[in-house]
Structure formats: structure tokens, C-alpha cells
């Protein structure tokens, strides 16, 4: 149980800056997801909190105490790694108990803590197995068990689900969320998957090239992106961007409109476009249209609507409120 504060945290490798000053105040028990494309510095940021990377400047505080110089163990954190990082020669029990053994916890307490974590994670039948005898999902659980038994102040997750298949990922996502609610431990979770970010986060940090572009509640970020990057990165299919002039907006440089905010009609509205191809997904249909000058626009409409045939000309319409206007610097106007 703890708060976590990042105060203008920066990191550079030599002359290259990879984190350009991140500020966030994480309250006790909050689930924060850091999301961004690969190479945006999100993992580096997490590893700085973990103490696996040095901090060039700024300050990281856990429960109000500066931990910049502290060893990972002294920070009272636990980390779940992408490839699980289980000790291959140890049984599940020993994997979970290792940190406690190092900390010289009494034997019966270790047994009790591992037992309760195993029960929570449904790992009881596997305690004597070696990691190589487990499935991917079970290994992931062991990795989480190893984090839980330490009763840390902060959980750190480094893309924990990216090695699992799609179905298992959905299931584990729910389990992680449930577990975190149950334990109420402050968590920092790194992912490049926006679905994970949207579903897990109490608040999310969208990172772009070492900068925290936006910090906020998932829906808030979705509905009100502060930068062009965030508008493009969060949401699938991605937001359509058009030059401001081409849609009659006098301020700003670019206008973004989410695919679900565009209506297709036969009668003239704002822009004319030709249907290039359709993707019928059942519940919804993605219609890709080409504007006269060649740009592709994606429209998401209900699956119950008739499928437009390819090659027909349709009109694109939207409400003024649906337009997100961005300036030349990519910031929202």
C-alpha cells in the first residue's frame, strides 16, 4: 500500500534523451497503465521505478521517500517480466519463495504466504513442478505469485501478457484486474496494447518518444485526446486525420475524426468519397473509402446496416462536435 510519485523524471543514455521529464502522482491502490508504441521509453520508465535503470535527473518517491539511489529490493516493489523470468531449475514453490528466503522470512511464514498466493492463483496442484512443465498461462501466474508473496508496496508489470495467445490474454487480463482490486496494491503496468490499457487502467499514461503526452482516465483520454499522437494511437481502427482546410476548419492544421463518428449517406453532406472495400466483422462493419485526392478514410458502422458495394460514391457526414482540431505542433486546439 503506497503512493508513487514521479517528479520530472528524466533519463538519457549518453547524449540521447530517452525520457524527457515525466510527472505523475499515483495514489494508493491505483492501477496506472503506461501505453505507447515500441521505443517510446515506457519500459525504460518502468525499469527506472524498479531500480533496474538509473535516473538521470528528477526524483522517484515511493510513499513519500526518495528511492532514486535505492536497490530494487529496498524499494519494496515486485515486478512481473514479459518472459516471466522464472528460475528454470526451481520448483514453482521455490520460485515464489525465493525472495522471501533471501529476506530471511521464517519458514512457516513463507509456506503460509506461498500457499495463500497459490490458492488465489489456482496454482496449488503445481507447486512442486518445474516451470518448463507449465503452460504459458500458468507460468504467468507463477510470475504473479512471486510478486504477490512479497507483499510489495508497488506492483510493476512489464508487458506481462504479450507472450500469451489471444484468448488467454483476455482471460489473464481479467484476472490481473480482479487480483489488483482484491489486493489493492498500487500498480504500474506497461503495455503496447491499447485494449489492455483501456480495460485495466484507472488512469493511463500515453507515452510518445519519451514524453508523457497525456495522463488521464481511459475514456477521458479516448474522448478528449490532447495531442494528435494520442488521438491516432488510442482507438482502433485509428482516427482519420484530414488537413483542416479540406473540411472547412480555419484554425489549426489537422482535424481528426473517429471512425464511429462519421455517417455514410447517399444525399450530399460534407465530403464525397468512393467505397474502396468493406470489412464486415458481424457486430460492426468497417468501410474504407477513398477521397478524390486519394486519402483513405475508415468509417465504422453497425453490422445491421446494409453493406455498401465497392466502387459506389457515398457522402461522409459528421457533427461539428466530433471534430478534434490539432495545431501545427500536434497539440489540441
Amino acid at each position: 500500500m503506497a503512493t508513487l510519485t514521479l517528479d520530472n523524471v528524466r533519463k538519457s543514455f549518453g547524449a540521447t534523451d530517452v525520457i524527457h521529464g515525466v510527472n505523475i502522482e499515483v495514489t494508493d491502490g491505483e492501477f496506472i497503465v503506461i501505453v505507447g508504441p515500441s521505443g517510446c521509453g515506457k519500459s525504460t520508465l518502468l525499469r527506472m521505478v524498479a531500480g533496474l535503470e538509473g535516473i538521470t535527473s528528477g526524483e522517484i518517491r515511493i510513499d513519500g521517500h526518495r528511492v532514486n539511489e535505492a536497490e530494487p529490493m529496498e524499494r519494496n516493489i515486485a515486478m512481473v517480466f514479459q518472459n516471466y523470468a522464472l528460475y528454470p531449475h526451481m520448483s514453482v514453490f521455490d520460485n515464489m519463495a525465493y525472495g522471501l528466503k533471501i529476506a530471511k522470512t521464517p519458514k512457516d511464514e513463507i509456506a503460509a504466504r506461498v500457499a495463500s498466493a497459490a490458492k488465489l492463483l489456482q496454482l496449488e496442484p503445481y507447486l512442486q513442478r518445474k516451470p518448463r512443465e507449465l503452460s504459458g498461462g500458468q507460468r504467468q501466474r507463477v510470475a504473479m505469485g512471486r510478486a504477490i508473496v512479497r507483499k510489495p508496496a508497488v506492483f510493476l508489470f512489464d508487458e506481462p501478457l504479450s507472450n500469451l495467445d489471444a484468448k488467454l490474454r483476455v482471460q489473464m487480463r481479467l484476472e490481473i484486474k480482479q487480483l489488483q482490486r482484491e489486493l489493492g496494491v498500487t500498480s504500474l503496468y506497461v503495455t503496447h496494447d491499447q485494449v489492455e490499457a483501456m480495460t485495466l487502467a484507472d488512469r493511463m499514461i500515453v507515452m510518445n518518444a519519451g514524453v508523457a503526452d497525456q495522463i488521464g482516465k481511459p475514456l477521458e483520454v479516448y474522448e478528449n485526446p490532447q495531442t494528435e499522437f494520442v488521438a491516432g494511437f488510442i482507438g482502433s481502427p485509428a482516427t482519420n486525420f484530414m488537413p483542416a482546410g479540406s473540411v472547412g476548419v480555419s484554425v489549426g492544421k489537422t482535424v481528426g475524426i473517429r471512425p464511429e463518428h462519421i455517417q455514410l449517406t447517399d444525399t450530399p453532406t460534407r465530403l464525397k468519397a468512393r467505397v474502396a472495400y468493406c470489412e464486415a466483422l458481424g457486430a460492426e462493419t468497417l468501410v474504407h473509402l477513398r477521397l478524390p485526392h486519394g486519402q483513405l478514410i475508415t468509417v465504422r458502422q453497425g453490422g445491421h446496416l446494409p453493406l455498401p458495394s465497392e466502387g459506389t460514391d457515398l457522402w461522409l457526414g459528421w457533427h461539428d462536435a466530433a471534430m478534434m482540431v490539432f495545431g501545427a505542433d500536434g497539440r489540441r486546439i
Binding site: A50, G51, L52, E71, P72, M73, I77, A78, M79, F81, Q82, N83, A85, L86, Y87, P88, H89, M90, Y98, G99, I102, A103, R146, R150
Partner: protein
């Protein structure tokens, strides 16, 4: 899978030829050993009189006990003990030293790290024979002639083993090191609790190779042990050869040769499983 089917289909004549070839090969290699064994079970006149006997005689116990407890210059039992101490000293020393130095080179950033690595690597190019005279000089000045330390120390560091462990450590995922750090393990705890158990099969494979290497040392023991009670068995065989007009006691010499082969064979057979696993897969 398709390869296997191909092999199965080749059953028939080719199959028999392969086996015939292998059997001939084995017999070819085994024959001298068999002759040595036969010679170690007969009497001196029987060896000298043609034709040479091809079946074991009835003096097995007599010849072997004579070799073990009396020998020619020193009892073979003593020589075997010397060999064992030298081989184990070299093997264990090499493994301990190369494990720790590979650990240092891979996991610690210290000034001159690369220099040290390349220095170690360079010594791979210097076989014992090249540096044997200066080494002798050093050992002699230390007063280590005719001693176990003299037998063991000059051969105790191994660039090959260091290099091998370095390569293995490099394949251990970084996350494992980081997980251990997060778990609060100190570097040495990481070494003993995680790295060492993971290197188990590699250590076993090296143990076999290095034990045989140590056991078969010939030139170095020959140089520094003048006292027969410090002779090792492999060089001891040579020392048993007669000089001048003496008569060679061939049955005893042959018994010694056979005895010299036994410990390496025991080591290989008893560690075969681990040894092969260490060579074939790295357990991760």
C-alpha cells in the same frame, strides 16, 4: 521426421553394411586394448614366446596384485592415488576458477574487463609445451618439485573453460538477473542460487573432459616428479620401461596400462547422462 523415415527405408543391405563397418571399426580400436589385457594375465615367458597368446591366461590376480602393491619403481596404487589427486585438483580447480572468472567478466563492469577477457583468450593459443621451461623454472624456485601443488597449480587455470562458461552465461536471459535483483539477491547469491544450478550440465560435461585431460597429463609430471613415490600412473608406465640390460616385466606393465584406463572409463560412464545433456542442450 522425414529424415527418420529416410533412415528406416534404407534398411536392407545398406543397413548391414553400416553395422559391419562400425563393428570392424570397434574391433580395430579394441584389439590393442584386448592384447594389453591378455598380456596382463599371462606370464613373461608366454608373452615373449611366439605366437603371442590371444586368450587370457590364469595369472590375472597375481599380475595385478604385483602391479598394485609392488610395481616396478613404485606401487601402482600409489601412482593411481597421485594421478587421482592431480586429476581432481586440476578439474575442480579449473572449474572453480573458470566459473568465477566467467562470472566476473560477464556480470561485472570493471576497468579493463575486455582487456582481461582477451588476455585469457590469448592464453588459449599457448599450449603447455610452449611455456613448459619457464613454468618449470618458476615451480622449481617455489620448491614445488615432487609435490602435489607442483603437479596441480601450473595446470589449474583454463581459458577454454572460462570461455565456455562465458558463452553459457551470455545466453542466460537478462530478465533472470533482474528478477533476482528484484528478489533482493546479492550478486554472489545470484551466482550460487541461480547461475550455478543452471550450469549443472555444463559443469558435468567439463568435469569429464577435464578429468581425462588431467589424468592423461604426461609431459609435466615427467618433468617435475623425480621421486617415484610422486609419479603419476600415465608417466609411471613409461618409467617402468627397462633401461639398459634390465628385463621388462611386461605382464605388470600391461596390468598398469589397463589400470590406468579404469578411472577415466568410470568417470565417463557414471557421468554419461549429464555429460551428453551438457553437450547437447542447455537447459533453459
Amino acid at each position: 521426421m522425414s529424415d527418420q523415415r529416410g533412415m528406416v527405408q534404407r534398411r536392407g543391405l545398406g543397413h548391414w553394411f553400416t553395422h559391419l563397418g562400425l563393428i570392424i571399426g570397434v574391433l580395430f580400436i579394441f584389439f590393442p586394448i584386448w592384447l594389453a589385457f591378455v598380456a596382463s594375465t599371462v606370464t613373461q615367458p608366454e608373452i615373449v614366446r611366439p605366437p603371442m597368446p590371444l586368450l587370457p591366461g590364469g595369472h590375472f590376480i597375481e599380475n595385478y596384485s604385483k602391479a598394485l602393491f609392488a610395481g616396478v619403481n613404485a606401487p601402482v596404487a600409489t601412482m593411481m592415488l597421485n594421478s587421482l589427486i592431480m586429476a581432481l585438483g586440476i578439474t575442480i580447480g579449473k572449474i572453480v576458477i573458470s566459473l568465477t572468472s566467467a562470472f566476473a567478466i560477464v556480470y561485472f563492469r570493471f576497468p579493463g574487463r575486455t582487456v582481461f577477457f582477451w588476455l585469457i583468450f590469448l592464453t588459449l593459443m599457448l599450449p603447455v609445451e610452449v611455456r613448459i621451461v619457464p613454468t618449470y623454472e618458476v615451480i622449481a624456485n617455489f620448491g614445488m618439485l615432487n609435490s602435489y601443488s607442483g603437479l596441480i597449480f601450473p595446470l589449474i587455470a583454463s581459458a577454454t573453460a572460462t570461455f565456455l562458461f562465458r558463452q553459457f552465461f551470455l545466453t542466460v536471459p537478462d530478465e533472470l538477473t533482474e528478477a533476482a535483483r528484484v528478489d533482493g539477491a546479492s550478486p554472489m547469491q545470484f551466482f550460487f542460487h541461480i547461475l550455478l544450478p543452471m550450469s549443472r550440465t555444463n559443469i558435468a560435461a567439463l568435469f569429464v573432459i577435464l578429468f581425462i585431460y588431467g589424468w592423461n597429463q604426461y609431459l609435466w609430471p615427467l618433468l617435475i616428479t623425480t621421486d617415484p613415490s610422486m609419479n603419476t600412473i600415465v608417466m609411471g608406465i613409461k618409467q617402468m620401461f627397462p633401461s639398459g640390460d634390465d628385463l621388462a616385466d611386461w605382464p605388470v606393465i600391461m596390468a598398469t596400462s589397463i589400470l590406468a584406463m579404469v578411472p577415466p572409463v568410470i568417470v565417463v560412464i557414471s557421468m554419461q547422462k549429464l555429460f551428453i545433456r551438457g553437450l547437447v542442450d542447455s537447459e533453459k
